[in-house]
Structures are given as C-alpha cells and as structure tokens.
C-alpha cells in the first residue's frame, strides 16, 4: 500500500485504518460534503439520475460480491431485487408494516431466497451455475411473482402505493431529494459494511474460494458454508436495493426485474472492475452517466437531424455492448484499476514509479 514517507503507525488499529493520512481523510470529508450537499446545488433531474446511480450501485454490490469476491457467477440477481422490492411493497400495502420494518423483512427474505438458489453451488460451478441462477430469475419473477404474487389483492399485475404510505419515523419519503438521502445513507452503509466484511475471516474465505476452491477447502475453509453465506449477503444487499426502488416510483411491477437487468448489472461490474468496491461505484456512474450524456448529445441535435432519434438510436444499445468488449480488451481490470493508476501517477510525480 502507498504511504508517504514520514507516516508511522504505532497501533494495529491505525495501520488497518481505512484512511491513513490527514490528506486522505480531508479528501474523503470533501467527497462526503460533495455528495451530501448535491441536492443543494443540483437540480432535480441530476438528483434523479443520482438516485438511479445509487440504485444501480446497491444492485450491483451483491453481484460484485458473488462474482468478484466469491467467484460464483450469477445472472439472475434481478430476482432477489424483486423479492426485496415486493416484500417491502406488500409489507407496506397489505400488512400495514412501517416502511423500515418491511424493508428489513424484504432484505432477510431476499437473503434466504438467494441461499435457496445458492444451494446447487455446493455441487456445481461455471456454466451449470449460470443456468441455476438464470433459473432463479425465471422461477421467481416470471413464474411466482407474475402469476401469483402480483395478483394478491386484486391488483392484477402491479402494486401502486398511495402517496404518503412510505414514512421513516413519521418522516414521509417522497420526492427525489428525500429518496436521494435514503439511498445515499444505505449505499454508504452497505459499501462500508461490505468493505469491512471483506477484510475479516469471512471475506478472506470468499476470496480463497474464488481463487481456488480446492485449495481453500484444503486450508480448512468450509466451502459450502461460505458460498451460502456469500449468497445470503448478496441477497440481503439486493433486498436493500429493492427497498430503495419502492420510494423511487411508489410503484412496482415484474417488468422492472427482467433478466436483462441482471445482465446489465454484470456489465456494470465488468466495466467498473471485478473484485473491487470502487469498481461498482465507477461502473454504475459510467453506465448511468453515458446514457444521460448521450441524451445531451442527441436531443439538441435532433432539432437539426430529426432522423437521429428515430433511426440512429439503436447505437445506444450497441454502445453498451461495445463498451464491455472494449473494456475487456483494453482495460480488463476496469475503471477501478485506471483510477488506481491515476492516483499513483500523482502520488509518485515527478517520478515514473
């Protein structure tokens, strides 16, 4: 790890600290001020884009944990988001629970549901595991939720929550700014929590399993237990994301949790960088931001070239695929690695290394 000369640690706590120098702490404090103050100087459109970014971060965290840290490939993560979102919505709508309690219930249920579909990982891996995670998607969203859960209460195919039903300790969560603070708090909590978890025995066991499961088992890691624990943690994180989704729209439908969203999340961590929490954040900002930047380019131009919006916009879909291919070819370690390089450059300047 990089440390400027003249910095010494005298305790284990200090040498394990997240941020080790005053300069870094000041930087992080500035960043915190920046994100907390964002709604003060940005308009609501920017805040809503930030909300979608935070939702993407929360959704992709579980994918990163499973793929990037534990080596368990998952394409069905949207299913666990759906479990979290539906449990939260139903808790508020039908069981009269306060929103935080419903959200906690959603997280737990999503975690357990994820463990259920993690069970086959005890015996299979690789492509076969991809199949079981896709099965999670089809069984959960396309079968159970669409056919049975969505029809609870005669609402046919979606749940729409009346305004004012989502409150935290009497404080109604409505509008972009409040959702932003809720999502921000939960994202920071999840990031710090997961970051710390990865430095414990549990996290080291996950990384050992990712790097070589047989070697991990030989070292005494209970592979099945830790795999299932990873699925549980990823499911809980998906539940958090699902709970954040609800106040975003006050509306939930199976269409929000299609297989394509699970694939999108894998794209997020591939672009951001596998096995890196920074990568999740950078990837989410990248994929959400690119689509918005594209609007800034295309919408004003469509006054002059109207055909641009109707006949050229498929490039947007292609651009996302192209971005993944280019990242895999030229930047296989993702944006997080590039960020590290940039930091090193400034830290070491004027020397090359």
């Amino acid at each position: 790890m990089y440390l400027p000369s003249g910095v010494f640690h005298e305790t284990y706590a200090a040498s394990h600290a997240w941020w080790q120098t005053g300069f870094v702490r000041a930087k992080m404090a500035l960043l915190l001020v920046f994100v907390v103050m964002l709604p003060q100087y940005a308009n609501l459109y920017v805040v809503s884009v930030a909300n979608i970014t935070l939702y993407t971060i929360l959704s992709a965290l579980g994918v990163q944990l499973l793929i990037g840290y534990c080596g368990q490939i998952t394409l069905g993560h949207a299913a666990f988001l759906a479990v979290g979102a539906y449990t939260t919505a139903m808790g508020v709508l039908f069981w009269g629970l306060p929103y935080p309690l419903a959200a906690v219930l959603g997280c737990l249920l999503a975690g357990l549901w994820s463990v259920l579909f993690g069970l086959p990982s005890a015996r299979i891996k690789g492509f076969y595991q991809i199949m079981t995670t896709m099965a999670a998607q089809f069984i959960t969203v396309d079968f159970i939720i669409t056919r049975y859960v969505s029809r609870v209460g005669g609402r046919e195919h979606y749940f729409s929550l009346p305004p004012g039903t989502i409150t935290i300790a009497g404080w109604p969560v409505d509008g972009e700014v409040k959702v932003y603070y809720l999502a921000l708090a939960l994202t920071l909590l999840s990031l710090v929590g997961l970051g710390n978890l990865l430095r414990t025995r549990v996290g080291r066991a996950w990384i050992a399993i990712r790097d070589n499961d047989i070697a991990a088992e030989a070292m005494g890691v209970n592979v099945v237990y830790y795999k299932l624990l990873a699925f549980f943690a990823a499911g809980v994180l998906a539940g958090v994301a699902g709970a954040v989704w609800i106040p975003n729209l006050f509306f939930v439908s199976p269409e929000h949790f299609q297989l394509s969203w699970g694939l999108w999340l894998v794209g997020v961590i591939l672009i951001g960088g596998l096995g890196s929490l920074h990568g999740v954040v950078f990837g989410a900002i990248f994929v959400t931001g690119i689509l918005e930047l594209l609007k800034f380019a295309v919408i004003p131009l469509s006054d002059i070239f109207p055909a641009l919006t109707e006949r050229f916009l498929y490039v947007k879909e292609a651009a996302f695929g192209l971005a993944i291919v280019l990242f895999l070819l030229y930047e296989p370690r993702g944006l997080a690695y590039r960020w590290q390089q940039v930091k090193n450059y400034f830290n070491l300047w004027p020397f090359a290394y």
Binding site: N43, L44, Y45, S48, V49, I52, Y55, T56, D142, T146, R147, E156, H157, Y158, S160, L161, P163, D174, G175, E176, N248, L249, F250, F251, S253, P254, E255, H256, S260, W261, T288, L291, E292, L293, K295, F296, A297, V298, I299, P300, L301, S302, D303, I304, P306, T309, E310, L313, Y314, K316, E317
Partner: protein, 415 residues
C-alpha cells in the same frame, strides 16, 4: 487512439452548444418512445408518425403561432431509463406535456406525473388510468383496453354468434358461447383488460376457458393452442401485439382450434395480414383510427408528410401505428391551443384544457373524444373491423354507453 476518443467525446459535448438554436416562441413537448426494446415492432412507426405530425402542426400555424419543439427519446422499454428521461424532460427541457408510450412506463410514472402535475398522453390505454381521482394527469386519445375488449366481444356475439349459420346448431341446443383468452400474463398491456373481459363474459352469458400465457415475443404457441382446444372454444381473444398474435392465429389454423378470433388494437394492423397470411382471414379486431392510407379526413396529409419526411420508408411498409402517432400529437396540440387561449399553457392548464374536450376529433376516423374532470375515458364507441380478402372491412361501431348506460357509469368505470 486515445486522442481520437478524446476528439469524439469533445465533439459530442460541443455539438449541442452549436446546435441549440433558440426560438422566441416555442412550446416544449416530450415524447417517450420504444425504438429498440420489446415493443419496438409497433413503436418505430409510431415515432415516425409523431415526428411527422409535429411538423404538420408547426407548418399549419403551430400552437396559436408558437412552434412545438419536440423532444423525442427512446427508452428501450427499460423503466429506470424511462424515469431519468422523463425527469430530464421535466427539469431540463421543461416540457408542458409528455407523449407516453407503453403500459410499463405509463403506469410506472402515473404516481409521479400526478405529483409533478404534467399531463401524460399515452399510447397505452389501460383503463386503470381513466379515473382522475387516482391518476389525474393521465390521458389518452383512443378508447381504453377494457372498453375495446367488451366492444369486440359484443360485436362478435351480435354479428357472428347470433347470425352466422355455423353456430345455428349450438344456438338451437341452447349452448353458451365459449371464449378462451391468449395473452402474456406478465405484460401489463396484455393483462389490463382481462378482468373487464371476464366480467363482460358473465354479463353476456359466455363460458370462459382456461387463460393461455403467450409471450409477446412468442414464435411457437402450439402447446397453448392445444390446451385451449380441449375446451372447444367458439371464440379466442388475443391480447398481445402483432407478432405474437400472428403466430397464435397461424397455429390455431394449423391445429384446427376452430374458434373465431378477436384481437386488441395493438395486435391488429397491416402486419397481421402480412405475417399470418390466409390464417388472418375473418379475424376481427379493434382499430382506434383509420389504417394507413385508408380514406379518412386528413389522411392525405398523413401520406404527404410520410413521403416528405421519411422518404426512405416505403408507403407499403407504413402501418396504422403512424396514424396513431398523428392522433396522439393532434390531441396534444388541440389541448395546448385551448390551454394557450385560456392563458395557462402549463401542466395544470393543459389538464383543464383536455377536460374541456367534447366530441372533438381531428379526422383520421378517430372516434369523437370527450374528456371530463370526473371521467378520462375518451369515448364509448369502438369501431370493429374484420379482415376479408386481405383487406380491412368495417363490421360495426359498438357503442357501450348507449347499450349499457347504467353499467357505463358504474361497474365499467375505472379498471
């Protein structure tokens, strides 16, 4: 390579600044469309129609002299992108109203547009959006899906079941007509009218068979058709879009389902004839406007602007969806004109303006639109067509309000 990438990025960021022409008097209008997602089969032509119709409105005086500036954007049927695009329209482009697309984005955004007080005129006609008490800012130009479904069932009952000699024997034995429904359970669009259709089946004395789940992207529906065949239906309802309806109708013919077909409006267009061929003969369906090029007031303009603005798309390939795009834009323009005359060209003003529409129609065989502050259903008259000799012929216009005045105000309302 890097320099090139930087250059492209810089160009992309600089171009909007160069291109942003400022108009003194303009009305801003957002439009969410699906050009790349699962409903793009019907979405592309609608988007072309919207662009053409806005040009037509601007060429003929705009909104009392103000030009409509259209912000049209594809969201690929991804709800998160629909949200950020809608909020961009709201906060950045500052639009007065939004032209919406599918049931997915329309229902998902309904609570939000109500809170933001931005009228949302959608291509989705889900009847749940017609009650202003719950969704005050949702409007549409065509009759809602539930009314459509009830009307199609009524038309088949009156014109075919009661008159056709094929069913004389069954009628004589006092049999009830049997109906089976093909639609995608997971699609809000396809499942929106099902409850209404089942209630109507009870009202008209139909027996309802087991529902069959057919995906919007289905190419093979044999297992569903065989499952339906066990019920020996006289009538099949198709609630999906054109591609999967064509697949079902073809399989029904191949496997001898022996039922007549009625189709919701997004499954009934020129492409159904092209895709299903002879199997489409005799299929009945709903069309809220005239088919492309069919004789109707203003259709000459639709064709003229189609040729002028999109010369690359041959006229034979154009379909009714473009005409629906025209109807959507023309209703929005009419609302804007009325709001402008009242001096309130903003969200709430536009809502009030829509609610003054009484029997308004722009031509294009759009049934007269009446919207009130307590009922956002645009009308009760549904034109039913039948495919005969590869062409559409009118069967009849069913007026639900005239036939069931009490139910129209009561249980027909709001779902």
């Amino acid at each position: 390579m890097k320099r090139l990438a930087l250059g492209v990025l810089a160009l992309a960021l600089a171009l909007p600044a160069l291109a942003g022409t400022v108009w003194a008097q303009e009305v801003r209008l957002g439009s969410l469309n699906d050009l790349t997602g699962p409903t793009s089969d019907v979405g592309k032509d609608a988007a072309l129609g919207i662009r053409e119709a806005v040009q037509y409105v601007n060429d003929t005086g705009g909104i009392n002299g103000k030009r409509i500036r259209l912000f049209l954007y594809d969201y690929g049927y991804r709800v998160p992108e629909a949200i950020t695009t809608y909020k961009r329209f709201r906060d950045f482009d500052k639009v007065v109203g939004v032209l919406g697309w599918g049931t997915g984005d329309t229902e998902a955004l309904a609570p939000t547009v109500g809170k933001d007080r931005i009228p949302y005129l959608s291509h989705s006609f889900s009847a749940k959006l017609t009650d202003p008490k719950t969704t005050p800012y949702n409007f549409f130009y065509g009759t809602d899906y539930s009314t459509n479904a009830r009307a199609a069932m009524t038309a088949w009952h009156d014109e075919v079941w009661m008159k056709d000699s094929r069913f004389a024997e069954a009628r004589g034995k006092g049999e009830k007509p049997r109906i089976v429904m093909f639609y995608m359970f997971a699609s809000p669009y396809a499942s929106a009218p099902i409850k209404a259709l089942k209630d109507h089946a009870a009202l008209m004395g139909f027996e309802v068979g087991p529902d069959q789940d057919v995906s919007l992207t289905a190419l093979d529906t044999k297992s569903q058709v065989l499952a339906a065949k066990a019920f020996r239906p006289h009538l099949a309802w198709h609630g999906n879009t054109t591609m999967s309806v064509a697949a079902t109708v073809k399989d029904a013919q191949a496997l001898g389902l022996g039922a007549d077909h009625i189709v919701n409006n997004w499954g009934f267009d020129e492409n159904l004839i092209r895709l299903a061929g002879p199997a489409a003969e005799g299929v009945m369906g709903i069309a809220v406007v005239a088919f492309y090029g069919q004789s109707a007031p203003l259709m000459d303009k639709v064709v003229e602007y189609g040729k002028k603005l999109n010369p690359g798309v041959p006229l034979e390939a154009r379909v009714i969806r473009a005409v629906q795009g025209w109807a959507q834009v023309l209703m929005m323009a009419e609302g804007m004109r009325r709001a402008d005359r009242a001096g309130k060209l903003n969200g709430p003003g536009l809502k009030e303006a829509f609610e003054t529409l009484r029997g308004w129609t722009p031509g294009l065989a759009l049934q007269p639109v009446t919207v009130t502050a307590t009922d956002h259903r645009p009308g009760s008259v549904v034109p039913i067509y039948r495919i005969k000799g590869g062409k559409f012929e009118s069967v009849k216009n069913v007026d639900l309000k005239a036939r069931w005045p009490r139910q129209w105000e009561g249980e027909f309302f709001g779902y």
